[in-house]
């Protein structure tokens, strides 16, 4: 629906590192994506994959002094946010960039402050005619504060976000580890693993035919409301620490299809369908699989 709409935000080869006493944590290590007007992109990944750091980079709120954007561009309607000064950023934050982090499982839920940013953006953009919407949003956000976990409240909140988006053509980046949120909210998905996007595509295509083994395994490991499963396939092991990344594919140690090349060389991003890309050597090995 947003395919022909103008690109609002373009992130090009973003690298944001944390300089710690254990070494350089490559939290965001070459991330690129674009977001169009009225579009919702889901950025999915587990804790420590760099999704939150990506989000914080967009508003230039990386933890100081360890965090730094070391390379790349964040183009907001063509203007690079990476080179902006702090006073300049203050005009951007809350006015032009409004970010939602959806992670009801953690107590540090940034939805609140960022929710307030949405309201601010709404107030500025729609002085009249949308007052009732702003009131509704305030009401919903207040409730999210009390009961971030509650599904019936969550549903109200998500429905409201959709409504706000429909009226304002807001572009939304949804940072989450929950594929359910993606299924309900997002037009497109980018899956992050160990600092990089490993797969990106239209939501439906990605759910129907995930092409990166990590996406595939992660989706299979989530229990479902429908149908009975006697045994969930689980991904064994842990993601690699971001300060000791392997040379090859970062998922190699946990991958069911790993071969020698995967450990040696990071796979290139390959097109696997319309607007659907994945970074996996297996795609090259089986070009006819789609």
């Amino acid at each position: 629906m947003a395919a022909g709409a103008p690109v609002v935000l373009e992130v090009r080869d973003l690298r944001a590192y944390l300089y710690t006493r254990w070494g350089v944590v490559r939290a965001v290590d070459g991330v690129s994506f674009a977001l169009r007007e009225g579009e919702t992109l889901g950025l999915v990944g587990e804790s420590g994959c760099g999704k939150t750091m990506t989000g914080l980079s967009l508003v230039r709120l990386l933890p100081e002094p360890a965090g730094r954007i070391v390379d790349g561009q964040i183009l907001l309607e063509g203007e690079d946010l990476v080179t902006k000064s702090e006073p300049e950023m203050r005009h951007v934050r809350g006015r032009r960039v409004s970010m939602i982090l959806q992670d009801p499982q953690t107590s540090l839920n940034p939805v609140f402050t960022i929710g307030d940013q949405i309201l601010e953006a709404l107030r500025q953009r729609r002085a009249d005619g949308e007052r009732s919407l702003v009131a509704q949003a305030e009401d919903a956000l207040r409730r999210v504060k009390v009961a971030a976990l509650d599904v019936t409240i969550q549903l109200q909140y998500l429905a409201l976000l959709k409504e706000i988006q429909a009226r304002t053509r807001l572009a939304m980046l949804f940072i989450t580890h929950d594929f359910g949120i993606v299924a309900r909210m997002c037009d497109r998905v980018a899956v992050m693993y160990a600092g990089r996007i490993v797969e990106t595509g239209p939501t439906r295509a990605l759910f129907r035919a995930p092409r990166h083994p990590y996406t595939e395994a992660l989706m299979a490991s989530v229990p479902r409301m429908e149908g009975t499963v006697t045994r969930l396939p689980s991904i064994e092991g842990q993601p690699p620490p971001l300060h000791e990344l392997p040379a090859g594919c970062r998922f190699a140690d946990r991958c069911a299809y790993v071969d020698e090349r995967c450990r040696r060389e990071y796979p290139p991003t390959m097109t696997v369908g319309p607007a659907h890309e994945a970074a996996c050597w297996r795609i090259e090995r089986s070009p006819s699989s789609r």
Binding site: V151, F207, S221, P223, R224, E226, L232
Partner: protein
């Protein structure tokens, strides 16, 4: 012989009309009770041997208070919790010590539930020290046994909690819960703080542990799909009461109570094409200090009738192993 059968049929845990009301006080020095939070308001259920009961509901529904009552961390206002027919809140002396080995708990946060100053093997052995006379070698043997059961290497015993990831810490918490060979483990949101790729590992581990030994679980969780995967039976709570209760299969296939239906409809879909029944409830859960009369759910219920306002519906059996408390049935 007959007696043996009677024992076999008796569930491990029997909860009868259990209630916990917390007084709400006003005034700084001399508190004046102005009302009661009816956190748990007369609930009954059983947990069989080697069975998992899932307790679901939104925050404030009373599921955590219920688990704390079972753990004896709270005294009930009314009703009883029976373990093998014995009232657990009346236990004293050796019976009480025995209770503390028979019932264990694993909580949500694997970061705060482990003592950071103790090596893993010391944490696990602590569970044995408190209530059992175990020799030093017996202790070590048991520590190694449970580490193995939860899938951790023996070398893990010599390390400290901070050296482990969230999933591994939850394994350690499970190991220390298992050490004293409990019959019931209360699992309060055991996977919700974990990463998605780690959750299935822990859920599968819980199932495996139960398959290998006579172990019952009370699983308190807000994630409905998690409960479906692990629990044999499920109870849905709303404002201190159980509104629906049944075999997990039956309850998930055919939820009956309007609240259960709304709760299930609000759960996030597994994929973008999942059939969706958007039953968006208006309003929020009312305060448990002054819950609505009659059926607690009536102010938000799309099917509310005149009698729902006045009469509290009883929990009725509507199908084999499926009970609902609603005037529609």
């Amino acid at each position: 012989m007959l007696e043996d059968r009677a024992i076999a049929v008796e569930p491990l845990i029997r909860v009868e009309n259990l209630a916990k009301h917390f007084p709400v006080t006003r005034g700084v020095l001399i508190g004046r009770t102005t009302g009661h939070v009816k956190a748990v308001d007369g609930i009954s259920f059983t947990i069989g041997r080697q069975e998992t009961l899932g307790l679901v509901g939104e925050s404030g529904c009373g599921k955590t208070t219920t688990s704390r009552l079972l753990l004896r961390l709270e005294q009930p206002t009314a009703g009883r919790v029976l373990l093998d027919g014995q009232d657990v809140h009346a236990l004293r002396g050796p019976d009480l010590s025995r209770y503390h080995t028979r019932v264990q708990a694993v909580f949500q946060d694997p970061w705060s539930s482990l003592n950071p100053r103790l090596r893993v093997r010391e944490t696990i052995a602590e569970a044995l020290v408190v209530n059992r006379r175990v020799t030093r070698s017996g202790k070590l043997e048991r520590v190694e046994e449970v580490l193995h059961q939860v899938g951790l290497p023996l070398s893990a015993g010599a390390r400290y909690p901070h050296e482990f990831s969230g999933g591994q810490r939850q394994r350690i918490a499970l190991a220390s819960a298992l050490a004293a060979k409990p019959e019931l483990i209360v699992l309060d949101e055991p996977v919700s703080a974990l990463d998605v790729s780690i959750r299935a590992q822990i859920m599968n581990l819980l199932k495996d542990l139960q398959a290998r030994q006579p172990l019952s679980f009370l699983l308190v969780a807000h994630n409905l799909a998690t409960v479906r995967y692990i629990a044999h039976r499920t109870a849905v709570m709303y404002l201190g009461r159980i509104v629906e209760h049944g075999d997990t299969e039956s309850l998930y296939r055919r939820p009956l109570h309007p609240y259960t239906k709304a709760l299930f409809a609000a759960a996030l879909p597994a994929d973008p094409d999942a059939p969706r029944d958007d039953m968006i409830l208006s309003g929020e859960v009312p305060s448990p200090i002054d819950p609505p009369p009659g059926c607690h759910f009536h102010p938000r219920c799309p099917f509310a009738m005149e009698q729902c306002v006045r009469i509290t519906p009883e929990l009725k059996t509507v199908a084999s192993g499926h009970m609902v408390s609603c005037h529609l049935y």
